[in-house]
Each structure stands twice: as structure tokens, then as C-alpha cells.
């Protein structure tokens, strides 16, 4: 039979200062882990939730991102006109858009420069994205004009990006005519007319072709069909798959960094937990003696103090999560895989909280093992005498 839980629970509050100290140490560790996991979630969701299965991304064979890809104007036209899976408008035009993608250095509001993604698009891009993309201020760009629209995510971070501002790209001055909002990473981009941006950036090649396809289209079969075609050998995948592959590396880096920091801080927290529990057991040696005299077996004593340590850990976990929760939705930015600034929100999801609290419980468990074992090994007379 185990020692009643209320004994351990109330004891935690009796030694409030020691409990608070340990809760703070574990809480800080958990806050770091939960914070990194929230960033990772925010980054992953930013791209993945926007990815659509009914959009196909055509890149150069062997390219893993738009930044590495290059398709000639002719190759883009072949794909748009010849791939039968690409949807068409009522007047028979393919819903496909060649796009140019490049990162340019722009000034940040808080000083310094950063890479910002510039995307040259064709009118079909807007039809392809449909309601996912909306102009929220000013107006849309016009074909053939030196005009740009700016993703809303960049407004607070990049200078000279408001409607009416001008932006110089190489020798060409572009006018900001609007601000747009959209799902995911597009929010952190600047869009302009494909031909005008290609001319300004002196880039004859396009980065990709984005096309609308029927849901469930076998894109692997499309890619396979062009394997032996000497004119164009594209890499084809759905937008969802493409974006997932783009976030994989950085997402993994967030997880690794969070894990590393949590490990280092966790070791410190375990020592704090162990120290606190040793102090607890030192202060309650007499009580251990009483419990043993009454007839509680060594295992019950071990379980009671281990459970108390886990409770301490869980309290720390809850404190850590409370520290992180106010940052929910806060935006930050980083370089993504294409070396351009991307803005994303802090997302403390339920799985993040569960993971963080589980980690805290584990810290408590590890920290409590030695003290609990020591308490269980005391003989009743030793414990009663020491008290």
C-alpha cells in the first residue's frame, strides 16, 4: 500500500521556499524547451498549412528549392501547354504561372540588412491562388509595370515597404502599390511582374512553374512521363510536399537546438531537484521513521518520495508553460532554406505543452531517484533517531 498522495502534496506546500526554487529551475528549463518547440511549430505550420495538394510545383531536375532551380522561358511554356493534368480556364488558358524567385538584401527597421524573397509572377498566379491571397491595402500590380506588392508579414520588419514607398532593385525603381495577405511563407515575400523583375534582376531563367491540377493527380507519373524528354525534365511535386521539404531542415534545427538547450539546462534542473528532494528528506527524516514504524514498506516510501519529486517536476513544467504561453502568436523572423527572411508566429500547441510537461515530469523523476532510494533504505530506528 502506498503512502497517501495528500501527504506528499501538502508537504510540497509546507516547504514553500524550497519548492518554489525547484519549480523555478525546472520551469526555466521547460520554458526554453517549450519556446523552441513553439518556434519549430510556428515555422513548420507556416509552410505546411499553406501547402495545397491541388497545386503542382515544377522545378529543374535535381533542384531541391526554387533558389537552386532554373527553367528557361521555353521550358515553362512547354510545361504549361503540354501537361494535360494542368487545369484550364473557361477560355482554354492553362492555370499555370512561371515564377522567378530571388532573395535580395533589404534594410530592416531595427538596423542591418536581411535577405527578402522577391517573386516575379504572371497574372495566372493570382487565379491559381484564388482566395488564399488577398490585397489588403492599395491595389494589385499591373502586367508590364514596375510595381510591387508586399506581404503583410514584412511590414513591421523591413523598411521602405509601405504603399507609396519606392524600392530600387539594381537600376530599376519599383513603386509599392499594395499590401497582400496570404497563407504561410508568401506573407514574407515581395511580388512583382515576372517580366519586369526578370529584366531588373537580369535573370533570363525562371525558378519554377506553379500550376493548378485536379486533386489526386499522380504527379510522380507526370514527372516520369518527362524522364526521357530532352526538352524539359522537371522535378514535380505537390505544393504541400514541396513546402514540407523546405521546412524540414530548419524545423529539425529548432528541435535540435531546443533539445540541446533543454538537455544542458535539464542537467542543472535535475541537480536542483535532487538537492531539493535531499533537503526535503533531511527535513522529514523523522516522518519517514514514523511511516516505517507504522508499517509502510521500503517500496512505499520510495514510491512516495519519487512521486513527490515528479509532482515537483510537473509543477515546474506547468510554470514553464505559463511563462511561454503569453508569447503565443508573437511574430518573429528568420532565414529559411532559400536564404530569405521569413516571418512566422510562435505556436504553443497542445502537443508542445504535453511534451514540455512530460519533460518536466522526467526531470523530477530523475532528480528524485537518489533521494527516494535513500529514504527507502533508512531503517526505522535510524530515521527516528535522526529526526
Amino acid at each position: 500500500m502506498l503512502v497517501p498522495l495528500r501527504y506528499n502534496l501538502r508537504s510540497l506546500f509546507v516547504r514553500a521556499s524550497a519548492t518554489l526554487l525547484t519549480v523555478c529551475a525546472i520551469g526555466a528549463t521547460v520554458a526554453v524547451l517549450a519556446g523552441m518547440l513553439s518556434l519549430q511549430q510556428g515555422f513548420a505550420v507556416l509552410f505546411q498549412e499553406r501547402g495545397r495538394d491541388d497545386l503542382a510545383v515544377f522545378l529543374r531536375k535535381g533542384a531541391t528549392s526554387e533558389g537552386e532551380s532554373g527553367l528557361t522561358r521555353e521550358q515553362c511554356e512547354i510545361l504549361a501547354k503540354e501537361v494535360p493534368e494542368i487545369a484550364r480556364t473557361t477560355d482554354g488558358q492553362p492555370l499555370a504561372s512561371a515564377e522567378l524567385f530571388l532573395a535580395v538584401r533589404l534594410r530592416k527597421f531595427d538596423g542591418g540588412e536581411t535577405n527578402v524573397a522577391i517573386r516575379g509572377v504572371q497574372p495566372a498566379s493570382f487565379a491559381i491562388h484564388g482566395d488564399d491571397l488577398r490585397i489588403v491595402a492599395g491595389e494589385n500590380i499591373r502586367p508590364g509595370q514596375d510595381e510591387l506588392i508586399v506581404g503583410q508579414g514584412l511590414l513591421g520588419r523591413i523598411a521602405d515597404c509601405r504603399v507609396g514607398d519606392t524600392l530600387r532593385i539594381n537600376t530599376v525603381t519599383f513603386r509599392i502599390v499594395g499590401t497582400f495577405t496570404g497563407k504561410g511563407g508568401y506573407q514574407s515575400e515581395i511580388w512583382g511582374d515576372l517580366e519586369r523583375l526578370a529584366a531588373a534582376l537580369q535573370r533570363p531563367v525562371r525558378s519554377r512553374v506553379l500550376a493548378k491540377v485536379a486533386p489526386g493527380t499522380d504527379l510522380a507519373a507526370v514527372q516520369e512521363r518527362y524522364t526521357a524528354d530532352l526538352r524539359v525534365q522537371p522535378r514535380v511535386e505537390s505544393e504541400r510536399e514541396y513546402l514540407a521539404s523546405q521546412t524540414g531542415d530548419l524545423s529539425q534545427r529548432f528541435t535540435l537546438l531546443g533539445g540541446f538547450l533543454a538537455l544542458i539546462m535539464g542537467i542543472g534542473a535535475v541537480f536542483t531537484g535532487t538537492n531539493s528532494m535531499l533537503g526535503t528528506i533531511g527535513a522529514r527524516t523523522h516522518e519517514i521513521g514514523i511511516l516505517k514504524a507504522i508499517g509502510y514498506r521500503p517500496f512505499a516510501i520510495f514510491a512516495a518520495f519519487l512521486l513527490e519529486a515528479v509532482l515537483l517536476g510537473l509543477l515546474g513544467g506547468a510554470a514553464g508553460c505559463l511563462l511561454v504561453l503569453p508569447f503565443q502568436g508573437a511574430e518573429t523572423g528568420t532565414m529559411n532554406q532559400t536564404f530569405s527572411e521569413v516571418t512566422f508566429a510562435f505556436r504553443t500547441t497542445l502537443p508542445v505543452l504535453v511534451e514540455a510537461i512530460g519533460f518536466a515530469g522526467l526531470l523530477g523523476l530523475v532528480g528524485g531517484l537518489l533521494p527516494a532510494w535513500r529514504a527507502a533504505r533508512m531503517t526505522p530506528t535510524q530515521a527516528l533517531r535522526r529526526g
Partner: protein
Amino acid sequence: MASAITIQSVTKTYTRGGESLRVLDELDLTMDGGTFYALMGPSGSGKTTLLNLVGGLDQADSGSVRIGDVDLGELSSSELAGWRAANVGFVFQGFNLLPVLTARENVELPLLLAPLSRAQRRAQAERVLELVGLKDRMDHKPRELSGGQEQRVAIARAIATDPQVLLADEPTGDLDRTTADSVLDLLQRLNRELQKTILMVTHDPQAASYSDKVIHLDKGKLGRIDDNRAASGGRK
């Protein structure tokens, strides 16, 4: 029939500061079941050590300690814990209640080790608290009770599982005379009415006078046994 306590050739040695100290030396002693014993002797005579051995809190280096048919030397530490839970109740000088639990919860502690339902535990805890005159204080924590009340709760906890043997180590050492007398009255009543075998360590002759017999230990050996029932001075 209450269990008799048989001590045969028991030796117990402690090592302190590198020096070996024989606290009990080939002690032989038999105590009848249902009798109230006081255990007296100078400091270091082995009173508390004997109490610990009889209560299964410690084990003898040699010899045997039997309670009824059970030889405590043959039990493992875990088995001893189980045996204690069912067969013996302790009352200590310092009351030894868990400060974070109420009087009733303290009394329920040993009952949690018995196969009882929650309702049965609660009823039994209330019954024994009523027996020691503290039913109206059962939801109070130890710090909210007087010393005498704390010791009564400790006695209630000791008898909660209805053990045949009660072991008390200076139970009135921290109490004033009046309160001490009321606690000793209670112990005597438990012996008389419930036939508990009681072994009480004390330095106080007045406390010892409540017992049926007084065992005198000296340097780990049995000195003499006085029978209060035969003498006219024993309070009954």
C-alpha cells in the same frame, strides 16, 4: 488470548565512534500477554533498544525475540514492516504525528495498510478518536492541538488497527503532570478494557505506577521485576 513476548539470550551491540557498545547482553525475559509493563533503568541500560526489538524496528545480533508464535529474527525488513502494521502500535515521546495531516488522517495512516474500505477506515478512525476523547478535534492538524491531545491522537493511531501489543517510549516525557496522568489513565484503560499488552519505557516512577509490572534493566541485563498489582501503591 493476547500474545506473550519472549526474549531469549538477546544481544545487541552498537558501534559508536569506532567503539563497540553492548546495549543488551544475553537478555532473557518473558512478558505475559494482556499485561501492562513499565520498563525502567538508567540511561544506556537498553530500554529503548529492547522496545525497538520487540516492535520489530530493529533486529537482535543474536538470540530471539518472539511475539506469540512469530520469531521476528526470521522476518525480512519488508516482512517486518507488514508484521508491524498488523500487530504492534507505537507511541513515542515526541508524539510523532505527521504535521501536514489532520488527526483523523494520521489515525487512518495504519488503517490504509489494512484491507478496509474507505468508509470502514473512516469509521474506525472516528471510533478510536472517540475512545481517546478527541472526536470533536479530528479535523485539526497537530499544530492546532495541545501536547496532551497530540499524544492522544498518537495513541489512537497506535490502536487503530487493534494490535495486541502497544509500545510506548516515554509517552509522557513532554507533558505536564495532569496531562501525563490523563494519558497514563488512557493507556491503563486500553490495557484493562481491551486487553492490550503494553510495554512502556519511562524514567518516571509515577508513570511506572500505572503499570502492572515494572521491569528494571541495568547495563543491558535484567535487574528485577516489581509487581505493582501485589503492592498496594499501584494505581488501579
